[in-house]
Symmetry: C2
Subunit: 330 residues, 2 copies
């Protein structure tokens, strides 16, 4: 197989600049195997384009928000189409794109087809964990509604990827659910778990959202709807926490008070510590009922009690009864 890597120069929010800049981070050997695919004039015009990668011209660009089916039908000469074609023809062994995900999926599916025996391709994402070893989650967006047999294949493909690329001999596989017991889950997970158990993979059973970061499981399978939501939520949550902290460090240093950092951190911790938010109201039962986390701290329980008090003071249930037949006007 060709060891060349076709890279979509037109993919991403700030292409081709960002893509061309990316090349300066590569080792010479890897760089020598990169082929840029894109609108030639624009790629050559980007700063750093003198790095000397060959450019394969593509006359069209798929926009980020463009419907994938339309792009595939109408833009036969897009950078994605050309990049995929390079892989299909064997001129390149791999294609990389930061462009419209749905379009890359669609072009790859129609251009390259599926591997023999595969029902549906899946997008795998590597999540950071406390163990400094990632957790591979598949699918994170290629398939919104899945069948049990598809999840089984995601598990197999994910295990192979983890074993071969990350180098763990027999990666542990978990089925994303809402409890570790076999009977916990939705219709899809209940039908999938027996298939996984019979698969010969190193299946540890159901895992929860928290296990994705725990380092106790290497491969987590879920449908692309759940996986995509978790991925985007996680990215934003991490950035929110670190962004707030970075701003605080900046401010502290400007004031020459690095000592106050610990306090700032404590404040931040409080803000993102879910247990501090107290309890979750159980909406819809005929009475105020607040459910707290089993691992609640005393402060969290106190907050749960305050939440109960608030629900009482604000007569939430009376409002629900009054308005459920006639929802609130926005």
């Amino acid at each position: 197989m060709s060891q060349r890597i076709a890279v979509d120069a037109m993919g991403g929010d700030d292409a081709p600049r960002v893509v061309v800049e990316a090349l300066s981070f590569l080792d010479p050997d890897l760089l020598s195997r990169v082929v840029l695919v894109g609108v030639e004039d624009r790629v050559k015009g980007a700063v750093g384009a003198e790095l000397g990668c060959p450019i394969v011209h593509a006359s069209e660009v798929v926009a980020m928000g463009e419907p994938a089916s339309q792009a595939v039908r109408k833009k036969k000469h897009s950078s994605i189409a050309v990049g995929v074609e390079l892989v299909k023809s064997g001129e390149a062994g791999a294609f990389v794109s930061a462009g419209n995900t749905g379009a890359v999926m669609a072009y790859a599916l129609y251009g390259l087809g599926r591997l023999p025996g595969i029902h549906r391709p899946a997008i795998a994402a590597l999540f950071p964990t406390v163990e400094h070893k990632p957790c591979l989650v598949a699918d994170v967006g290629a398939n919104v509604d899945c069948k049990p047999e598809q999840l089984l294949q995601f598990a197999t493909m994910g295990s192979i990827y983890y074993r071969e690329v990350i180098g763990v001999k027999s990666p542990r596989v978990g089925l994303l659910s809402i409890g570790s017991e076999d009977e916990k889950g939705n219709d899809l997970t209940q039908k999938t778990l027996p298939l996984l158990r019979e698969s010969g993979l190193n299946v540890i059973g159901n895992v929860e959202g928290r296990d994705v970061v725990s380092g106790q499981v290497e491969v987590v399978v879920c449908d692309g709807f759940v996986g995509n939501i978790m991925l985007k939520f996680g990215e934003s949550l991490a950035m929110m926490i670190l962004g707030a902290l970075a701003a605080q460090i900046e401010r502290s240093e400007q004031n020459g008070q690095n000592g106050s950092l610990k306090e700032s951190f404590a404040r931040l911790l409080k803000r993102v510590d879910y247990s501090e938010t107290g309890g979750a109201p159980l909406l819809g039962v005929n009475g105020v009922c607040i459910i707290s986390h089993g691992g609640s701290t005393p402060k969290a329980i106190a907050n749960a009690i305050r939440a109960a008090d608030q629900a009482l003071q604000h007569n939430v249930n009376r409002h629900i009864i009054a308005e459920i037949g006639a929802p609130v006007v926005g």
Copy 2:
């Protein structure tokens, strides 16, 4: 309605100690309205029990892992049963528990029943956002498989709770999905969105996982399977980031090198920055295809190219073809 708040003294991983400790954080007025429910001897034995709250005796305790249906059937005198009964009889206006969530749900549902017109109760959780104003997500675990009409009710109940308790007049409501366009989503969201749009609620349409922390939407509805996974994942991710940072601050201070904090932070940022992980392999297409985030940095694109190279070097597809008919032995 009674303004008393029944608190499950036996609920939570370290009950009753934690629950009793919680009381010391309450204002005198609120404290004066708390009724502890639990095994009298054990509650009295907990340090701080001299705070003087009345204790209503309950002879049984529901264990954290105990199946809810079994608990409801067999433990008629559990602290949860007694607490719910206090609300039912009107002696208390609210019940708070950090115990077995499924059991609290079940006792509340059978003991209190649903509010008139409500199909299914939902658990609402308040997520932190960048705007210092929480995002209410419902459901986070009460209902794994939902119908569109149920999500509509979660939206209505969530809006009412947000409006009344948090005080935002017309909270924006979003339907959790995998893209903001109306046509994005799974079967459930596609059927739910039209109902939401006709509801009279302040519906902004589909929202993504990232919007939960963006502060751009006050109420997010989803089925309890997705919501529960997101909740547990978010808790753990936040704790992972902050835990790592706290350890680093501790170490830096021991070494008298607070100056190195910025470096540590940069390292941490790198670890949790998803964009740094590069690209997501599209598993199952007949060729190597790496999909990167549209907002990728040059480093991220470089990493995506490295990921493509790794998939090539490790012949992932050849393994998938070879093993998909006969999955890996664990």
